[in-house]
């Protein structure tokens, strides 16, 4: 059995090597490219969202490369996502692909995750299952940490491109750290690498909180590398949604990190009093948080046809009005025009810069 799982940000880096060691024959999909997107678009319903299309493209490319089993997260889902696996399976079967498909029924429950790992690997002992699962979680947290350091260093770098190189290296190093001991030794190394980048310490970049639907936020291919673009515009990104936070809210592997969903829900009170699916409550709550913390503005990104984020976008517009806080919403799909995105981003950054300096003195 050659197993494949569609990509979601850096998640595949966290699990592939570890699962391979325990006898899972992993066949990760190739990195998403235009070809992936075109495949996905061709066989998806028009109004399915961008994550659905990229996932489907991932699956097709992996199957073409010899995979014969797909694992897709599912269950009651945060949005339509819960049913994606079922529909994707049907589409693939109609195209004549032969494979076995499993969807995790209850991705919020630890026991369910451990059972999944035991099903696909040679791990029989429940304790070993826990050990492997938590290692994957820790690796994910390490990858997120490396990304957060990237956000800090990118706008301040002296030689353009240095930080991108370091992030690439850091991801490779974390990928190689396949045990708890190695991982604990790797992280100081990663930090040292970032420290070695020549940065302009006196520069105070404009800060933008990036929020929205989690797949589009964490997958650079889906958002046209928006975090890199912002970094190149000398903006410090404060990302509000992290995969490791999502996992931590459910599996509590970082005891000193508070539950972000609960925190956001508390902050969102008065604007949105219940979770309306997806990351909507996080988007609303963290917009309030970023405003309080003095982050200069919020960039809210979502896939086209994303219902939960559309709700959130209406709510944060009200926050924006109430508190005179700049917010920009952008939707992404296969038709998105990069020129338009860049123009709006640049104008937004100009707006924040001028707003901070408080006048037109620059002209």
């Amino acid at each position: 059995m050659k197993l494949t799982v569609p990509h979601m940000g850096l998640l595949s880096v966290a699990y592939t090597r570890v699962l391979r060691q325990h006898g899972v024959d992993m066949q990760p999909p190739p990195k998403a490219t235009i070809k992936t997107l075109n495949l996905g678009v061709k066989y998806s319903p028009e109004f399915a969202c961008l994550p659905f299309k990229i996932n489907l493209g991932n699956m097709m490319e992996a199957l073409d490369n010899g995979a014969d089993a797909i694992l897709m997260p599912g269950g009651y889902g945060p949005c339509r996502f819960g049913y994606y696996g079922i529909i994707q399976e049907q589409i693939l079967r109609e195209q004549g692909y032969k494979f076995t498909m499993s969807t995790t029924d209850n991705p919020d429950r630890l026991s369910d995750m451990i059972d999944t790992i035991r099903d696909i690997s040679q791990i029989r002992n429940r304790y070993d299952g826990y050990s492997v699962f938590f290692l994957i979680l820790m690796r994910m947290a390490a990858l997120d940490k490396a990304t957060a350091l990237y956000h800090y260093h990118k706008p301040r770098e002296v030689n353009r491109g240095d930080t991108d190189q370091v992030l690439k290296q850091a991801i490779e190093m974390i990928d190689l750290a396949d045990s708890y001991t190695k991982l604990f030794r790797t992280m100081p190394e990663v930090k040292k690498m970032y420290k070695a980048i020549r940065i302009d310490k006196s520069f105070k970049p404009v800060t933008i909180g990036v929020l929205g639907e989690i797949f589009v936020v964490i997958e650079p291919f889906a958002n046209l590398e928006i975090e890199k673009k912002l970094g190149e515009l000398r903006v410090e990104v404060r990302r509000g949604v992290w995969l490791s936070d999502w996992l931590n809210d459910r599996f509590r592997f970082r005891p000193f990190r508070r539950n972000q969903t609960k925190y956001a829900t508390k902050l969102a009170k008065g604007y949105l009093n219940f979770a309306s699916g997806g990351e909507s409550i996080e988007t609303v709550g963290k917009t309030v948080l970023f405003q309080k913390k003095g982050v200069d503005g919020v960039l809210h990104i979502m896939p086209f046809t994303c219902m939960p984020e559309l709700v959130a976008s209406a709510v944060i517009n009200r926050i924006s009005k109430d508190r005179e806080y700049p917010v920009l919403s952008m939707t992404f799909d296969e038709h998105v025009s990069e020129a338009n995105i860049i123009t709006r981003l640049e104008a937004f950054v100009d707006l924040l810069e001028r707003r901070r300096n408080g006048s037109i003195s620059r002209y």
Binding site: P326, N340, T343, R344, A347, D350, R354, S359, I360
Partner: protein
């Protein structure tokens, strides 16, 4: 004489303007790009040389969707997005401006300004309904010169109601109205109303449009659209004298901070510049890479996601 150059390479027209230290326009040109931005720039440059004689360029600013291209061939000190450029220019001309309505060839913008700072903006995304290109297309179909369109609209007695949500539907609805017997003036006025409704639905969406409002961009030449806006909102729309070249003026104004200009000189108009493109086949992304050639030499390349072609020409 010292001067600053502003270049706005738009989707439909190319604007070049020369200003002095204080921001007064000395010379300007407004020409159709005709799908060949480099040629348009070259001809504007030779006209500028003929008209102005010897001038010392102290700074160059470019804007518009072709701002990067213009930067590569002219050598710019400031490469700015259209939204900021338009805002800077509007604030320079009318310091207490609060709203800018800008409608160009392919896109339209709404910019809100408070106390001389941009506080909010929106821009049409995918749909070109309600922009200059659409008006031009319809004018051609009706056999009216685009400059005359506004006068027809003003002469209407009861504007026809035309569906403006989408250009395709608008066109078929216009044909329907004309077959029903509405006269040309009423149809043109209806078209202006539809465009305005579309603009307000897509861009303003509850944003507060407050006085003073400046109306700029190529479409501001059309008094029919101006009248429709004023009727719809009950506010006066000010059309500045330099309405079609406001973006270029903004870019030039921004370039006044330059200490040492990167301007490549006037030889541009005599060079044999050409663009070409190819698809990179090194990965499945198949990026379309663009390049500018000066005779056989490649001056610049862009369009690749990974950046390797861009680096090669640096």
């Amino acid at each position: 004489m010292e001067a600053y150059l502003g270049i706005d390479v738009g989707s439909v027209t190319t604007k070049v303007v020369l200003i002095d230290r204080h921001g007064t326009a000395l010379w300007s040109s407004y020409k159709k790009t005709m799908g060949q931005p480099i040629k348009a720039l070259q001809s504007a440059f030779s006209a500028l040389r003929r008209g102005m004689g010897d001038i010392e360029i102290r700074g160059v600013g470019t804007t518009g969707s072709g701002r990067k291209l213009a930067d590569y061939i002219v050598g710019a000190d400031e490469v700015k997005n259209e939204i900021t450029a338009h805002a800077v220019s509007a604030i320079h001309h009318i310091p207490n401006v609060r709203t800018i309505v800008e409608i160009g060839g392919q896109d339209s913008k709404l910019i809100l300004i408070r106390n001389g700072v941009v506080v909010d903006f929106s821009m049409n995304t995918v749909c070109a309904a309600g922009t200059g290109s659409f008006l031009e297309h319809q004018a051609a179909r009706l056999g009216i010169a685009i400059e005359e369109l506004g006068n027809y609209a003003l002469a209407a007695s009861s504007p026809a109601r035309i569906a403006g949500r989408c250009t395709v539907f608008a066109e078929s609805d216009m044909i329907h109205k004309q077959q029903m017997g509405h006269n040309l003036e009423d149809i043109v006025a209806g078209l202006c109303d539809a465009l305005v409704r579309n603009y307000l639905n897509n861009l303003s969406r509850g944003k507060e449009i407050s006085d003073p409002v400046i109306f700029q961009g190529g479409v501001a030449a059309n008094p029919g659209i101006k009248a429709s806006f004023e009727r719809e909102l009950g506010k006066e729309f000010i059309v500045p004298h330099y309405y079609p070249i406001m973006g270029a003026i903004g870019a030039a104004l921004l370039s006044r901070n330059t200490t040492q200009t990167r301007f490549r000189g006037w030889s541009l108009s005599e060079k044999q510049l050409s663009t070409s493109s190819f698809y990179c086949s090194d990965c499945p992304n198949a990026c379309g890479v663009m390049q500018i050639n000066d005779c056989d030499e490649v001056i610049a390349r862009w369009g690749d996601t990974c950046g390797k072609w861009g680096r090669m020409s640096e």
